[in-house]
């Protein structure tokens, strides 16, 4: 399919617009010098990705993305920012210019690997069912039937990450420190 064929379909204009918006917002996430602005650009990025899912008629996935990532994860980011570095304004150290080349190499490499594998894996296969709503019950059956094992493994990995996070963040006090704290 040539580019002029591709661009002649209105649905692809929407795709192009959304994809460019996602890219621009994603770029601003890492270059923004204000940590709250970075979080808000992350919201814009995720909203754009949800829009891409809607284009694929995956309403359920799109709203789950909005609910979980925009509604909970980024809100938690903001909560963390508010209780640690609340004042408004710029933080010049946030955009580390010396790390830019390394970051560019890593992110372009990741993009290359992911796009290469997905292009190789699917080739020209059209995705079935685009344009009709995905019934949620079929999704549920797939998740708790055929894919139940990966689903549970992902849950287990997340639990392990959670416990690991707590262990890393909460250092046990030495007896001496505990004594000092008790004295205060």
């Amino acid at each position: 399919m040539s580019f002029s064929d591709w661009i002649s379909q209105p649905v692809n204009w929407v795709f192009l617009g959304l994809a460019l918006a996602v890219l621009a917002a994603g770029f601003r996430v890492v270059t923004s010098q204000n940590v709250v602005h970075a979080a808000l650009f992350l919201v814009a990025t995720l909203a754009g990705v949800a829009g891409l899912f809607v284009l694929l008629s995956a309403e359920f996935v799109a709203w789950v993305l909005v609910l979980v990532y925009i509604g909970a994860v980024v809100v938690l980011f903001l909560f963390g920012i508010m209780i640690t570095r609340a004042p408004t304004g710029q933080d010049v150290g946030l955009d580390n210019r010396r790390a830019r080349p390394v970051a560019a190499v890593v992110s372009l490499g990741l993009f290359g690997v992911l796009s290469w594998t997905s292009v190789r894996a699917f080739q020209d296969t059209a995705v079935a069912g685009v344009g009709e709503r995905t019934p949620t019950d079929i999704l549920g059956e797939a998740l708790l039937g055929r894919f139940v094992f990966p689903f549970e493994v992902v849950g287990f990995v997340l639990l392990a990450a959670l416990i690991g996070g707590i262990t890393l963040a909460r250092r046990d006090l030495t007896p001496k420190e505990e004594e000092e704290r008790g004295a205060v």
Binding site: V36, H37, L40, V43, E59, F60, W63, V64, V66, L67, I70, G71, A72, V75, L76, L78, F79, M82, I83, A86, P87, T88, G89, R133, P135, T136, D137
Partner: protein, 359 residues
């Protein structure tokens, strides 16, 4: 889809928008009257009969007041926050069916802006978007007290949304006992499945088998809308005003509008999920057809206002919770309670469908 369909969709959107604005004007007045009555006061009685135009007068005043922008604010976010409050408040109502489908121009029109087949998820997503307005308003004001209000809002919204979602899951699970045997997330479908009766005379509303879920949902929506006794976000005595301290004029009015729209739409959602939505006697055949068509809207409004009244009643009765009490109630009572109820009702639904394991 032809021009008539498009016009009908437009009509529904405009009607919903107008409905929300009108009920907000009435609700502000009704709340002041109800609370005044409970406290042995008269309440507003100057503007119009029974003071019913008081909100219009207040709204006009706020509209013409200067919107002061303090010098320390983070401008862009500060100006955007009131809109972030109003937009999700309007959107959340768009999935609520506010009447039985009616016949117009030879086609059946559902009285609902959009029947998403993942309607409940949409409600949860939009109610979690509402927290952005409060957090960002508090942060961008560049002032200590609004920031504290914003931080409180985040913690509160996250805690009570979990309980609210779990209560909804119980309803979705229960909806699998009627219909085609799978649960549904569409609000229109949930209402249809509550038609009919238990034992011939008790209406088949979800509140009867799911009374625990209803109680949890009710507490959670009061907390989600930041209303008393969960209004720590705008505790005047502690925070000067709360997240909206630095807002004035029209921008303050928009936060106010969003709060009252949220109270109404959350009550309508509770009525839809637990009180049978627009189901009710229509006496079709006895009454003229147009009255029978309008009666479901009336039933939904009656049920919604019963819950809105509870909001006002609680506000007039209970003192504000302390912050640690709020967290205790959310994490140690409501969420474990909702999980336990989910297990119990799953067991009952399972026994009903598959029989007892030893039977």
């Amino acid at each position: 889809m032809d021009i008539v369909d498009v016009l009908l969709i437009g009509l529904r959107v405009v009607a919903t928008f107008a409905l929300l604005l009108v009920v907000t004007i009435l609700n502000v007045w009704a709340e002041r009257k109800v609370v005044a009555d409970m406290q042995n006061r008269i309440g507003p009685d100057r503007a119009g009969p029974w003071g019913i135009l008081q909100t219009v007068a207040d709204g006009l005043k706020l509209f013409f007041k200067e919107s002061v922008t303090p010098s320390k604010v983070e401008r862009g976010v500060y100006l955007a926050a009131p809109f972030l409050a109003v937009v999700p408040a309007f959107l959340i109502f768009s999935v609520v069916p506010w009447g039985a489908p009616v016949e117009v121009f030879g086609r059946t029109m559902p009285l609902q802006v959009a029947d998403l087949n993942v309607g409940l998820l949409f409600i949860l997503a939009m109610s979690s978007m509402a927290v952005y307005a409060v957090v960002l308003a508090g942060w961008s004001s560049g002032s200590k007290y609004p920031l504290l209000g914003g931080v409180r809002a985040t913690a509160q919204a996250i805690s009570y949304e979990a309980a609210m979602g779990l209560a909804m899951v119980a309803v979705v699970m229960y909806s699998a006992t009627t219909g085609d045997g799978t649960g549904t997330l569409s609000l229109a479908e949930l209402v249809e499945r509550q038609a009919g009766t238990f034992l011939g005379f008790i209406p088949r509303w979800n509140i009867i088998p799911q009374f625990v879920a209803f109680a949890i949902f009710l507490v959670a929506i009061v907390a989600e809308t930041n209303r008393a006794p969960f209004d720590l976000v705008e505790a005047e005595q502690e925070l000067v005003g709360g997240f909206h301290t630095e807002y004035s004029g029209m921008r303050f009015a928009m936060f106010f509008l969003a709060e009252y729209i949220n109270v109404f739409s959350m009550s309508a959602i509770a009525a839809t999920l637990f009180l049978g939505g627009w189901n009710g006697p229509t006496w079709s055949g006895i009454l003229p057809a147009w009255i029978s068509a309008i009666l479901p809207v009336f039933w939904l409004l009656v049920k919604t206002y019963a819950i809105v009244f509870v909001f006002f009643w609680i506000r007039a009765t209970l003192p504000r919770l302390r912050y640690d009490q709020l967290m205790q109630l959310g994490w140690k009572r409501l969420i474990p309670g909702a999980l336990a109820w989910l297990m119990v009702s799953a067991l009952f639904i399972g026994f009903r469908r598959f029989g007892l394991p030893w039977g």
